[in-house]
Amino acid sequence: MNVLLDFLPEFRKGFLGTVSLTAASSALAILLGLLIAGFRVSPVPPLRAFGTAWVTLLRNTPLTLLFLVAFFVVPQVLFPGTSPFVLATLALGFYTSSFVCEAVRSGINTVPLGQAEAARSIGMTFTQTLRLIILPQATRTVLPPLSSILIALTKNSAIAGAFSNTELFSVSKLLNDQGRPIGWIFLWIALAYLIITFAISGLFRLLERRLEVAR
């Protein structure tokens, strides 16, 4: 109990760190995921191939490995001195984007083919069809898996703690190293994660209810 009160500033910093990492990398992941999903269903073969390669490579690589590449290869080859937060956001965002892409693609597959054909018959381009007809209908199906992906992302962000980022896990490590009672630390850290993941699932439940339509 005392651990929380004694180290409130540390806990707050860790909590905010996890929240901001999660927020930044979910934004990146959703943006990239939508783009790559568009690639994967597009009529242009090279784009489709790129999308497939992206998903295969990122989805099947352990996240820790991506972090290692982001921290030890990217700064050396491309931009030396990039902040750890940006590097962690990139690693988390790229990794999660492959999962978002697949969720979006599964959503797109639930939209009947007739919808796309009808759109094309009234002269819409591929981008228009996707943006105005397909994606709005796909959104409903995409929401539940997307909330799972974002909750997983929240927990995955703990790896960033081992790479020069302040977040909940690194705070637990800090207090642990000082020899504070391990049980209480874990309890408070777990509760903090629960707050974030509950917020995400609550938000998505709200969205689902909003977008509900009888089929």
Binding site: L57, N60, L65, V69, V73, A162, S170, L175, N176, D177
Partner: protein, 302 residues
């Protein structure tokens, strides 16, 4: 046909992934292979007449083996190589104690215990005692007991051999210093009076890699750990040698086991006096080029 195509594509992706991982691995860049020579590993006469009135010792004697907690990732200090052999200064200390408690080298079972679960492993009896850069402090003493200290370490800086600009903690202003997440020296060097920018990574080996690659200018932690890395690559790295904290290393054991604690303290005292300690130090951490400083004897019984 189709299957063959998929298989080919799969192979390409695998190859790509393999090249990608090769860059991120811990193997390091070419030409920076460890070159510290052999690590000293001694044998110590077993005290067959040992009799310690401690529950942990009695149980170990009955089982015919003693379980010792140690680190496995600290070269020249507490290290386990790919063949499973353990070497290093802490390992030697652990072996000296075991010999005096009446256990031969064959009867020792080493167990790798990570820093953050040390108190748990000791108090739950998963290990009989623990030797692994374990700083004695009051917070830990609430949960376990310490014998010793057997070595007084202090936070120091590891730099590239040819880097003359860092001569102590007062010269790190504006420099990049790396340490592991949450470690005490990191909290110290973060203080505004030193003015260093910090990088926090999961393992010291990653910090050392960044140091060799020139991405950070120094690695900070207890000098014992740094000496280990310097001993591994004496041509590339050196320890500055201006410790700025005091970290007395103790042997961790279950709380309240006074008999075992006294026996361990006696063992340490004996081996410091008969020169085993000095030999072990010079064959391990001493290879970093730092000179041997005799530990305080008799050991304060904390």
């Amino acid at each position: 046909m189709r299957i063959r195509k998929t298989a080919a594509a799969g192979a390409v992706v695998l190859a790509l992934a393999a090249t990608a991982t090769a860059c991120g691995g811990e193997s390091g860049t070419a030409g920076d292979k460890a070159s510290g020579g052999d690590v000293y590993s001694g044998t110590y006469p077993v005290n067959d007449k040992a009799n310690v009135n401690s529950p942990a010792w009695k149980e170990a004697k009955k089982a015919g083996k003693i379980t010792i907690g140690a680190k496995a990732d600290q070269p020249y200090l507490g290290f386990q190589d790919t063949t499973g052999k353990r070497t290093g200064f802490d390992i030697e200390i652990a072996k000296m104690i075991a010999a005096d408690l009446g256990f031969s080298e064959k009867q020792i079972e080493f167990k790798t215990v990570d820093s953050n679960v040390r108190e748990t492993a000791i108090s739950k009896g998963q290990v009989d005692y623990y030797v692994g850069t374990y700083t004695i402090n009051d917070e830990r003493k609430k949960q376990i007991d310490f014998a010793g200290p057997y070595y007084t370490a202090g936070a120091d800086l590891l730099v590239r051999r040819d880097d003359k600009s860092i001569t102590g903690p007062d010269t790190v202003k504006g420099k990049k210093v790396c340490s592991i997440v949450g470690s005490t020296p990191l909290q110290e060097i973060k203080k505004p009076k030193y003015g260093a920018t910090t990088t926090e990574l999961a393992k010291y080996s990653l910090c050392v890699k960044q140091l060799l690659d020139g991405q950070v200018d120094a690695v900070t932690t207890d000098d014992a750990i740094l000496k280990g890395y310097a001993a591994e690559r004496p041509k590339k790295l050196r320890v500055v040698g201006k410790p700025f904290t005091k970290e007395p290393y103790g042997v961790g054991l279950q709380k309240g086991d006074k008999a075992l604690r006294d026996a361990i303290t006696d063992a340490l005292e004996k081996h410091i006096k008969n020169g085993d300690y000095k030999k072990a130090y010079e064959g391990t951490l001493g290879k970093s080029g730092t000179s041997f400083v005799a530990p305080q004897t008799p050991l304060p019984r904390t």
